[in-house]
Homo-oligomer: 417 residues x 2
């Protein structure tokens, strides 16, 4: 078993007892600890590997000049500093994994750093705020941060904190011992694609078709996180071709809310990457809102109850025109060929004639607006006479993707579709 | 390193590839796998350690009689079955830790079982739904479930799923190798107490005072989870004395919503346990609501912005009377002595004269209603002339707790306060 270095992010003033306990526990398991101090109080912790002065310095400030700022302002500097410092230290090979524990403030600062690390690098957050009515987004973003509810307040080493701290530290120890390999650039073709429940059948047909041909294809749930995660992985080179079949997050962004809100600027970066890219307007025609917090004009809208919490709401014609314009503008930024594959019989489940979210006027307006507003010759528009959630659409999309990969030289010209 | 058994909860029809991969990975690390099949599809998986027939049987049904029910109905049976089966198998010593991975349905079923296990038993959930705008509550409840966002859809073994699956399995391996001890009954005195940001100063004074006397005291955040977690640990014997200084969750329950909603029937079980118990009405005078989803009559109410997301809203007089009645009713169920310690100058931060949530009429109504409605002679009422969030209140509460522990014979009669 190789000795690894685990960075421990901690407030070395208020959490010294807990830090000391964890450090010893990790060292007893045969690994090194690199302590990163994120304290912002008036006490002056000394002798830690990365002092708080370095964290604040990474934010562009000198500790001595800012130490009298308010707690809130200092926390912002700590967030900004750790966001820069963690990826720098990781790139310098200073640690192999990162661990932190604490309350709301410590958690905010620590996860800001963890979110900058590649997927696969072990990241463990033992937190008092990983429970109840809080949401995941601020804690994990698009990263594989291991979250552990601390059950009790993390103050002192007692019956409960000892148990959860030992388990949490054992997670990071287990990962550095047995796995913990960061994702890097892929050698072969790795296709990313997007789906959600209401495009699942169509997209899974596409995935299965590509996979059956030996083309690795990875699905992401485009419900506010997955689309963003896929784009980041494409920018980083882990994913090197994209079949973006569910761009619903663009509609959520336009509405400024709803369950799938949280993935801004979808498509923009993708279109600039110059990688093999196929786009379809999956889910562009609806928004999802909690049943207890619906848009004010819900009475004028067509909607269905998707589950016990959520409604799926068909957008109105003028909104369809708006989101189609936004989509066209983003496609127009393409630096190399992009295929826009349009299903002519609905962009999701439940939108065929006779189904509850069928609205031909809205769907046609989206298609017409897309066509009218695309002026970049790199964008190739094609149609499939199907609903996006049908198997026939999925297979058509997969075959189209194979042709694109051939044109990009990623597959042999004789590759059999 | 001792060989342990890790239960893997999986849908053995749709997730067979992933299950096979994880099983081999865990076995290569030197441990046994106990596969628990929770599939509900039409395929008939065979040869797994705990077949789905056993899961459904634990819900009181025969698979053959129910297998044609809808997916939703079968899922409910699987939840009900796994909720009974997991603690049974654990009690029989059939496994030492539990692991699962999957999408929304698999996650719902698996965590229902994990929530039945004691804190400390390793529980790992690799899930597609541990991200975005979802909340923690349905996934973790009051337990230390290790949550890992899967980043990509968990379909097949690919560049990304391989990485997150290996890391997730390594967490459970690390815990069984290095920690993973379940909490049990405590021998010495272990005091549980409740706090939140707005009672933090007072309660921490109490904790520090008790801790300085060598009395182990553990804080729980009563924001919809902690109060419930503490009561469960008291019922289980890990905590054997309680200083319940923040019962704000009673007000959230009365309102039927808000950030701290989710801990029903607070105090009821505690009062019946017959353990040393001190209660104070901390935070009983307000509710917390998201700024974007405030009560409809917010214009008539006194409130402050607590942070970027939440408002703290003083309740009205008639509401104060209602929550005080509810509290009194619960205290009246006490089987042995309970001390109600009332601070006469406000139940939380910002409620002293001149402070933004000061409202003497409401606070007095709460105190008067409490007194008028307590008829059980087991309830001893005492007053402290302070605000609950002040150090002097905390020390008074701690000293009162010491006297209670003495009367219960948990501390020597000569113990020095």
């Amino acid at each position: 078993m190789q000795m690894k270095t685990i960075a421990v992010i901690a407030s070395c003033d208020t959490k010294l007892k807990e830090l000391t306990y964890i450090k010893k526990f990790i060292e007893n398991a045969g690994h090194r600890v690199l302590v990163i101090d994120i304290s912002i109080g008036i006490e002056e912790p000394q002798g830690f590997d990365i002092p708080r002065e370095d964290v604040i310095a990474a934010s562009g400030h000198h500790w001595e000049n800012v130490k009298n700022l308010s707690k809130g302002e200092l926390m912002e500097l700590a967030v900004s500093g750790i966001t820069k410092l963690i990826p720098e230290l990781y790139a310098q090979g200073k640690f192999d994994a990162v661990f932190s524990m604490g309350g709301v403030q410590n958690t905010s600062v620590a996860v800001s750093g963890m979110k900058q690390l590649p997927i696969g690098v072990p990241k463990v957050m033992l937190s008092t705020v990983a429970s109840g009515n809080r949401t995941f987004e601020p804690l994990v973003g698009t990263r594989d941060i291991v979250l552990i509810p601390s059950i009790a307040d993390l103050a002192g080493v007692n019956t409960i904190t000892r148990t959860v701290m030992e388990n949490a530290a054992s997670c990071v120890i287990g990962m550095v011992n047995n796995a913990g390999k960061p994702l890097g650039n892929s050698d072969g073709v790795v296709v990313g694609t997007t789906l959600m429940g209401i495009t699942n059948d169509g997209v899974c047909s596409a995935i299965n078709h590509l996979t059956s041909k030996g083309i690795e294809t990875i699905g992401f749930h485009s419900t506010g996180v997955g689309g963003r995660a896929m784009e980041e992985l494409a920018a980083g080179g882990t994913i090197n071709a994209v079949m973006d079949l569910t761009i619903h997050e663009i509609t959520s962004e336009y509405f400024g809310g709803g369950f799938s809100y949280g993935a801004p600027d979808r498509l923009t970066m993708l279109c600039r990457l110059g990688i093999p890219l196929l786009v379809s307007p999956g889910g562009l025609d609806f928004v999802d809102y909690p049943l207890d917090n619906m848009p004010k004009d819900i009475d004028k809208r067509k909607y269905i109850r998707h589950n016990a919490q959520l409604a799926h709401i068909k957008i109105l014609k003028h909104e369809g025109i708006d989101v189609a314009k936004i989509t066209a503008e983003r496609l127009n930024q393409s630096k190399s060929e992009v295929t826009l594959l349009i299903p002519t019989n609905g962009f999701r489940k439940n939108t065929r004639p006779g189904e509850p979210l069928y609205d031909k006027e809205v769907d046609d307006a989206i298609i017409e607006t897309l066509i009218e507003n695309i002026y970049n010759d790199n964008v190739i528009v094609k149609y499939v006479d199907a609903n996006l959630n049908e198997e026939s659409f999925g297979i058509a999309a997969a075959n189209e993707m194979i042709e694109i990969l051939k044109r990009f030289g990623k597959l042999d010209a004789n590759f059999d579709i």
